[in-house]
Symmetry: C2
């Protein structure tokens, strides 16, 4: 008898989700959502971003928020845009910090007014410092399959940027379809190459449902050996640079998919539904995952944990 394989789901609702909601939540509300996810035994949660509160009001006070959370109750990560963010995150005790590098130069220039070379140089410096200071830093490779400005992206830039980041000590690479543009055949081609190159333990995927292909993309990545995924409670989110873009794949949908495929997530589905209800109440805009209604009626029939 072999024990079932595990898939790690990282809930990015409290960051990628809330950042793209029209309503700005208080630190207490954000904390309550994260605690609901902890109750549901999410193994990893992106709790916030250390960014200018002027630029991103929804993420104001993220280090303060972190200090309200129970220590080690989940694998907490925080997004950092630069070295100052790294130092603030380190000082606040962020267990994992996430860099973001778009594989598209135009996206980097439009999004953060820096070239890819600039942002890579900064990332290498942060990774070197993190190594010296024994901090865990991972990197998002954004617009991995397509960029709203440059269109379809090549695998070459992904391979080149990813190799440099891993070499510099990045703990993991999260390959992100930032604008929800990839189709599952494209996901299969890229992830097949990346898993072969770097191994699945160094990789995660991040999908949006903009073109309705989010879950198909998760499946395509699993087939290539990917075992870690970002997802967002109740499907919170979107992308501010792509109006009309849907949110991240919903945590409840991804959890049901992988559990039914025979993987184990450790997530408590009943409490996950409660967390989704809370996300819907707090934001007033989230819809909940498409499987939520079915899940509510059939919790007993889904084997988890």
């Amino acid at each position: 008898m072999t024990s079932p394989q595990h898939i790690v789901i990282n809930d990015v609702g409290p960051r990628d989700g809330l950042q793209n909601q029209p309503k700005v939540l208080s630190i207490e509300e954000r904390s309550s959502l994260i605690n609901a996810l902890i109750d549901a035994q999410l193994p990893a949660i992106e709790v916030g971003a250390i960014v200018s509160p002027k630029a991103v009001p929804a993420m104001a006070g993220s280090t303060e928020l972190l200090s309200t959370l129970p220590a080690n109750a989940s694998h907490y990560s925080m997004l950092i845009p630069n070295q100052k963010g790294y130092e603030l995150g380190r000082d606040a005790g962020a267990p994992v910090m996430s860099l973001v590098i778009a594989t598209s130069n135009t996206m980097n220039e439009k999004n953060i007014r820096r070239t890819t070379d600039d942002i890579m140089q900064q990332s290498m410096n942060i990774l070197a410092q993190a190594k010296a200071e024994n901090q865990c830093v991972q990197a998002y490779l954004a617009t991995a399959w397509a960029c709203p400005f440059e269109g379809q992206m090549s695998l070459d830039s992904l391979l080149s940027l990813g190799a440099q980041l891993l070499e510099a000590g990045a703990n993991k690479l999260i390959i992100a379809d930032t604008i929800g543009a990839a189709s599952p055949d494209q996901v299969a081609v890229f992830m097949n190459k990346l898993v072969t190159e770097w191994g699945s333990e160094k990789l995660a995927c991040h999908f949006h449902d903009t073109r309705a292909m989010g879950l198909a993309n998760v499946y395509a990545a699993i087939e290539q050996g990917v075992r870690e995924f970002d997802a967002s409670i109740a499907g919170l989110g979107g992308c501010p640079f792509a109006p009309g873009a849907s949110g991240n794949v919903a945590t409840e949908d991804v959890t049901l998919l992988v559990e039914q495929m025979g993987f184990r997530t450790g997530i408590d589905l009943e409490k996950l539904i409660s967390a989704a209800d809370l996300a819907i109440t707090l934001t007033g805009t989230a819809q909940g995952g498409r499987s939520k209604r079915w899940l509510e009626k059939n919790l007993a029939s889904v084997a988890t944990n």
Copy 2:
């Protein structure tokens, strides 16, 4: 240079979709929806069902409806529950008639109060008559992966029933996840076997999005060589025997998926969006496919035809 492969999409909105809507449409309204699908160049459309108007008011007058449609503008099919239905369909000039056999005996008994043996015997008789009369009859194998009463189904009954139906002259088998219960790994296992056994030209798949896996299941079936799918304009539908079940996979979502994968459908996406808008207006309940909003803004960037 190889020419792109083709995928056939059969819109079942006017039958499987409307049959499960709370609002009963008039024949004129149903005809207007079908004509919008014809305008969008849907290659196949399930236009109605020849059933008792008492039992299924939404499908009343389906042969009359057929007579209002332009001849040969699409591959029209009609669902028939028995020999009387076959004869009415034949006399009305239905180009294709569809039998439905659940692979689950309990489902057959609950749904139509007959055993699988009974319904198979009836189906064999109809297929024999259709062969003698040169009529095109295909067969749905319903609850192929799972039944609400019996749970997960085995591949054996599917193989046995399917072989008998093909042997008796069924033009095609449509493997239907009637209650939207299958996950893509399960779809891959079954369709791999069936395509190997009977060839993809004898097969189509029919998926519902109840557990949010509809598009992932379409992708999994494509990977196994399936090249024909049912879908429902604007995601109309559901299953009356499974409250809370979502509708069929939306035609606009399936079309976008397969076109982006490099297949050709022949469908005019702009007119497809108009047909979805009409379905939403007529029913008052349909939501539209999840990709619809993105598609509306990005029609120009999607290469079709």
